[in-house]
């Protein structure tokens, strides 16, 4: 229902992506110098079609398009801020230490979602946003002399035409039908210290369809707006 209201409210606006971000305390120091090297870990994108009956059909072509469009737009965004972009394929990593760090990032990301964004609060994690992969993190970008690693994960659904029609029909009857949405999670890791300096959870607005170049551009703009880069 919430998405329906927001979707209706956003119809007239194109950059209507809703974000909810966190900044680590050290970013008070300021943004990194130009020409900092940022590794974009290949975005993990899972997009599906939400059919009228409620079944989700995984769409490999949408996931591929989303992955490629997000990568291109992140590259553009970083280079606009005078940073150096490098794509990073997590599946091609050989160094066992780097492999462990990537898996640790998964665990830290889940912990952030559960205890920072989630409904359960840990008394030991109130106050400033304080999450780290530890000082071994530089092993992720070691042979590439990178300063930061940016992780982007997306999953979500797009409603089929049948589903949209159903929604309209149901709305007339007074019932609501979820229309599908796409969530994007992003985290920025300072590879020198291992600290997660920035984390963002975004819900894509109607003008931010990552399956298209223009939509991905809008989404990435909203996503990275508050990032300390």
């Amino acid at each position: 229902m919430r998405f329906l209201i927001l979707a209706l409210a956003c119809i007239a606006l194109t950059g209507c992506t809703i974000t909810n971000q966190r900044l680590g305390a050290e970013t008070d120091i300021g943004k990194p110098p130009p020409n900092s090297k940022v590794l974009l870990v290949r975005p993990d994108v899972s997009l599906a079609l939400l059919t009228a009956s409620g079944m989700q059909e995984a769409k490999a072509d949408w996931s591929k398009a989303g992955r490629e469009d997000l990568t291109t737009e992140v590259k553009v965004a970083l280079e606009t801020k005078a940073h150096v972009f490098e794509a990073f394929d997590p599946d091609a990593v050989q160094d066992p230490h780097a492999v462990q760090l990537l898996r640790l990032h998964d665990a830290v990301g889940q912990s952030i979602m559960a205890f920072n964004y989630g409904l359960i609060k840990l008394p030991t994690k109130t106050g400033s946003f304080d999450w780290t992969l530890g000082e071994g993190a530089e092993a992720i970008g070691h042979d590439r002399h990178a300063d930061y690693a940016l992780f982007v994960t997306t999953h979500g659904t797009y409603a089929s035409a049948g589903r949209k029609a159903l929604m309209m029909g149901a709305a007339l009857l007074g019932a609501s039908i979820p229309l599908g949405s796409q969530q994007v999670f992003a985290s920025l890791v300072d590879l020198k210290t291992g600290r997660i300096v920035w984390f963002n959870v975004a819900v894509a607005g109607p003008g931010a369809d990552m399956r298209t170049q223009a939509g991905a551009k809008s989404l990435v703009e909203s996503l990275l707006k508050g990032a300390p880069l």
């Binding site: 059919t51 009956s53 409620g54 079944m55 995984a58 149901a170 009857l173």
Partner: protein
Amino acid sequence: MNRLTASRRLAAALLVGCTALTGAANAQTTPNLRAPHLKPDLTTAEGGIWDQSDKAESHVRASAELDSDPVLTAYVGGVVCRVAPEYCGDLRTYVLDRPVFNAAAAPNGYVEVNSGLLLRVRDEDELAFVLGHEVSHFARNHTFARFQAQKNTANAMMVLTAGITIAAAGAAYSTARAGGPYAGQNINTISSTARSLNDLVYLSSIASLFSFSREEETEADQLGFQRAQHAGYRPGASVDLWNGELDEARASDFPKVRTSEVRASIFDTHPVTSDRIAALTAMGAGVVPAAASPATTADAARRYRAVVRPHLGDWLKDDLRRRDYGQTLFLIDRLAGEGEDLGLLSFYRGETYRHRRAPGDDALALASYRAATVQPDAPAAAWRELGQACHKAGDQACAKDAFSRYIEHDPKAQDRWLVEADLKSMQQAGGS
């Protein structure tokens, strides 16, 4: 009200239409097999299922349960290729160290085989039949057929409930049936109670696509049998395998497992029933030569045992984690039937009694450990456990001797200092 009646009539009409369509599809007699080197268009539903299978496969490659022994993996992959020569290059085999009987072939060619299955097949012929069965699901695109069937059901259900409760039906149905984040709720209903939920983690997003219909299971039995037979394997192996599984189920400690049915894979909703076994027996009877000689089957068992011998101890240790001691004892007895590896098997028999701790098990464990230590292949731990068991039974002379022999066999054991302390206190108490 008029709107409702109209939509109900429409629903009925659609349902009839759907059934008619499915009926037409089943009328085919020669099975269509997927083409080798098939790669679906990314834009299709098949492409989406393939993509999800790719994700499951990359999780398995990172998994802690992946068995990294290249010799074993190559062996199992070799059997897969023998029963599926036309798909050999398309199939990638992974062995997972999980103590449950299971094998599955995903639409993208990723094949997983559990150590629990490798522990339970008696020879390569039985292994070939199971792999042939799973490959037949792959060859006939049964996962895609499941997907289509689910879609039809979902649409029919939606139309039927198009009156008032449309939102509730759509939401509830999608969480329970679709491969979304709540697919786990469906998984609980399809897996047998004795299986761990962990076994379904990798394919969970598409697990519902592996719960094949009774017709699909029967077809896979038939085609799997043919594949194995074509590759030169013993025709009776399929019947032996399923009967062995039924016997193992009956040996369980848990009443629920004893009375529940046996399945070809953990995803199956359709059990291995007596009529499926009868069908396989009939297929075997029609083949010449009808049965292999006892010498040939013993030879086949010995050759298979040579392949899995390095893993036998670890797999039995994993099987003990299930804590179904009746079944572990059944497996050990069957493994011991060939007369090989008696030191290792007696040791694990002892371990089973030691863990079970039913009345009288102390004595049974002691006897098993003792039987193990007279065999050349007894693991070093057999002496330590014999020592503990004797100590418990009050036989200090046996305990002292066994502990000393343990230290001789494994001087670097991490509990050496504990055993030596026990020895010392026994010597002081005994005054010798």
